[in-house]
Symmetry: C2
Subunit: 123 residues, 2 copies
DNA sequence: TCGAAGCCTCACATCAGTGTGAAGGTCAAG
DNA sequence: CTTGACCTTCACACTGATGTGAGGCTTCGA
């Protein structure tokens, strides 16, 4: 599929699809005329990218974890050639994500508690 | 306390403390000589701000929720003058935060699953 | 064959968060 | 009284994510 259709189906402007490519988050092939050609799976991939970007991750972090995120089951990088160091890096990313979750959950709880304390009495 | 001490105690550069003030996240008083004067509580407040910023929230969103985040117990805005509309806005923020948490948790789980599938077999 | 629509690259603009430095005022300690 | 540490404002610069437009191809349908 070409960039226009991908844009329509994901709701992401073509400008950003090209940007994600520049950031090595997407790797479309090129047709003979130079047009980008995306596989069907790009729709889901763009969804992933948007979700993570909207959740405050940088393209750099997304680039680091994206290869290991392609859905349950088919492990994309062969388990064999995953050096221990890569596993450690990955664990680091997991930890950072967990920290964010903790911080957000903590503050969500505070807001919820505030709301609960106010609403019953509020007009 | 003045800006230098606050910076030292929080590890946040003075530049950013001034920026947060410009963004209406901090409201130090001014001494006679023009120096900013922060209350003791500013240390915790700056911690809050940093955590949320590091978790990917914008200063705009932080500004919106910060008043309701001052710890359990003393509800800062009097519950009486919290109009229903404010409660609705707040609920919207909570929902957005929850979406982020969900997305991050989902992807954390994927990474963890990948790691679990790879590590036992990995060298 | 012509025009419109879609694609290409390039480049400048914006916003948020931050770094850095200049030019100058305040104050305490030597 | 001077020096040095601390404070002030102002301003320019960078990065990351994104908007926008120019100039020029390709492709397709009337």
């Amino acid at each position: 599929m070409r960039i226009g259709e991908l844009s329509r189906r994901t709701g992401v402007p073509t400008r950003l699809l090209r940007y994600y490519e520049e950031q090595h988050l997407l790797h479309p092939e090129r047709a003979g005329n130079g047009y980008r050609s995306y596989p069907e799976s790009a729709v889901a991939r763009v969804g992933q990218i948007r979700g993570l970007l909207d959740s405050g991750l940088t393209t750099e972090m997304i680039r680091a974890i994206l290869p290991y995120l392609c859905g349950p089951g088919h492990l994309v990088p062969a388990p064999e050639d995953v050096p221990a160091q890569t596993a450690a890096l990955l664990q680091g990313h997991i930890d950072r994500i967990q920290s964010r979750i903790d911080c957000l959950a903590r503050n969500r709880d505070r807001l919820t508690a505030y709301l609960a304390a106010v609403r019953p009495g509020g007009r």
